[in-house]
Amino acid sequence: MSTVAEKRGFLAVLWDYLTTVDHKKIAILYLVSGGFFFLVGGIEAMLIRIQLAIPDNDFVSAGLYNELLTMHGTTMIFLAAMPLLFAFMNAVVPLQIGARDVAFPFLNSLGFWLFFFGGIFLNLSWFLGGAPDAGWTSYASLSLASPGHGIDFYVLGLQISGAGTLIAGINFLVTIINMRAPGMTYMRMPLFTWSTFVASALILFAFPPLTVGLFLMLFDRMFGANFFDVTMGGNTIIWEHLFWIFGHPEVYILILPAFGIFSDIISTFSKKRLFGYAAMVFATVLIGFLGFMVWAHHMFTTGLGPTANAIFAVATMAIAVPTGVKIFNWLLTMWGGSIRFTTPMLYAVAFIPSFVAGGVTGVMLASAAADYQYHDSYFVVAHFHYVIIGGVVLGLLAGTHFYWPKMFGTMLNETLGKITFWLFLIGFHGTFFIQHFLGLMGMPRRIWKFLPNQGLDLFNMISTVGAFFMALAVIVLLYNVVITQIKNVRVGNDPWGDGRTLEWAIPSPPPYYNFKQLPLVRGLDPLWIEKMEGRKEMTPAEPLGDIHMPNNSFIPFVMSLGLFIAAFGAMYQVDWRASDGADYVWSIPVLIIGMLITIGSMAVRSLKDDHGYHIHKEELMDDHDDKGGRE
């Protein structure tokens, strides 16, 4: 296992990635598939904006439009933003805490494949009778009324990928608690690690309500249950609660890691330690905690009554306080620093005002009585795109440029990076700023077309033009990625020159065992401390010794594939029952076979001992840094 074949064919590489349990390779898998879904979601967004460019447009049909808006939201949240964040978490967090791997390498791989198959399953709906069309929130009355299998794809796809997310969350929690290097105390962890930790805790407690909600929907749609059928005593508001008890923390699951990325970038390129580190950590934890207390602000118009609305309004406003603390700490980190405007830093600098704009509209929305006007209008669309794009996507783009050298050992072109940045920033504000006003001018969200003579024409056109700028930016980024990989100029440990944390103390990309010797951490920003004392590398905390490594495994792939197959069975047994067994007789067998594949591979995993292997001291001594990692 530890010996590397020199020349390997495509199939060997493919097999390697299908079976890998190395967090750095899983990071690349997340990056590539998350990036793919990001493009898919982006194309859906462009179709939406083209449809809304002019009044009474018939570019796409009404039904297709609803499928597009549903899949755009679902894809971007579940299949693009989260996996891309997982990519950076996987690539960076173990390095930042000085670990050789994550706590559960096998589960790490399983988490990825579950997400991947769930995402593929969801998107296959486009080719198998139509995508889900009840919005990413999939409110129960509409999703039960939705004909065809669209909603079934949504329910089953999210159930599978959600299981993967839950696994990933537990994995990161245990990794951060148990696997830190000597001296890496909690209060010395970089902010990205901290925010990953808090986001993982949110995943652990937020995803089960979604799982339950999806199960109820699945039972209602596929097995005749009556949770949401009012005529049978059901209640659709249950879905709204379950969805938002998940859905609101989900926003913080996305934004906190982005905060972490920005914290590290701002500190790095200001050449200054993060201002108010302890307050930043506390604010992160507090935001995570409060995130669970505010879900009903998505339901102000549902009719919960003024008392509930008032309580949730005030609770929601409270979140602005720790968020504000963060904003000012970032500003004060730059203050008195030495700012270098690299591409990642440009994103970070642009993020601050963009996110402030998204934050203040958040406070406006929290004001329940006024929210009766904003709710489900384009004002909300503008708000959450300011938060998600202005926060999360800018964070992902910043992270892409920042961590690319660490993941791939070569730098993205800075000039092209800056072009991408400006196009994207202009496009983003152009698209969404104007939408605040569209909402206030009476345009509801999720509308397939708007009719003329309502004063909405001009602003919609401006918004569409902005979207094209963003699309252009993404194309430039893709071009950048391609030429960078073709040129393939190798870089050293600390390509930005300003690295402060452990990941910049080891080669880019790191060898597959990460650290030959675990580093001794002597404070916050450990590499910076060593640099200031004139050293280039970390002081090792242990003598050179054998390193224990996990074996690769194909089981996670098979296990996820089983669920993927079973999902088809579960879905089409509805038709089989409806058609009196005439067609779709294969559905129940497929369901059973799929489940057997999954349960069987679980049993194999349980029965077969897997002790991993050791890299011996002698091999490590022979191993030159530049050779490692690309195994």
Partner: protein, 209 residues
């Protein structure tokens, strides 16, 4: 550390489930997983409470009409006892006594099976006596989903114990499988705790009306 190293009762560490890093990770990870499971059951409980006795028309059986204390009391006792026997099993695991651990785990499994048997009888009873089915009303859906999720957990727990016993029957305890036995028993305790809540919220509160 060699995972297959042979231990005797004397060399066996005090907390074998947490001696290796893998064990420690598994131990913590499983506790966290149970935290997530708790939220999962909390959501199911909330759903059940919202839909309790929500039936179309008035010819449907309600909670107070159906539930009978003796049956669920026996089930509760079975499960509580099985939790206790799994504690004995873990006691012997910590003393590196595979034989006794095996015996107690087998007793646990049989008690679990008995519980399942009663549960199947119970469901069958409701369906045939009261026409209270999964599809007959929102109440039915919520009841069978909550109690059924628990039942499914019992099945998984039994399967897990059985698999572990079969796999390790010949080689006994080592630091590789000790954490596995330990997490399985944690899982079993969790199932037990959930049942206590089901007993209270569904049955006792249901009988009160």
């Amino acid at each position: 550390m060699d995972m297959n190293q042979k231990y005797t009762a004397r060399t066996w560490p005090e907390s074998p489930e947490k001696t290796t890093l893998e064990g420690k990770n598994k131990f913590l990870g499983f506790w966290l997983f149970l935290g997530g499971e708790t939220v999962l059951f909390a959501s199911l409980f909330a759903t059940y409470l919202a839909l309790k006795d929500k039936v179309p028309g008035n010819d449907h059986a309600l909670a107070a009409d159906m539930f009978e204390l003796p049956l669920v009391f026996i089930m509760t006792m079975l499960l509580l006892t099985s939790s206790l026997t799994s504690v004995y099993a873990m006691y012997h695991m910590k003393n590196h006594n595979y034989q006794k651990m095996q015996t107690w785990l087998l007793i646990t499994v049989f008690l679990g099976l008995a519980f399942l048997g009663f549960e199947i009888y119970e469901f069958n009873h409701y369906v045939h006596e009261f026409h209270h089915t999964f599809t007959s009303s929102a109440f039915g859906s919520a009841f069978y989903t909550l109690v059924g999720f628990h039942g499914a957990h019992v099945v998984v727990g039994l399967g897990w114990f059985t698999l572990l016993l079969v796999r390790n029957g010949k080689r006994g305890l080592n630091l590789y499988n000790a954490p596995k036995f330990f997490t399985a028993s944690l899982y079993w305790h969790f199932i037990d705790v959930v049942w206590v809540f089901i007993f209270t919220v569904v049955y006792l509160m249901g009988m009160v009306g």
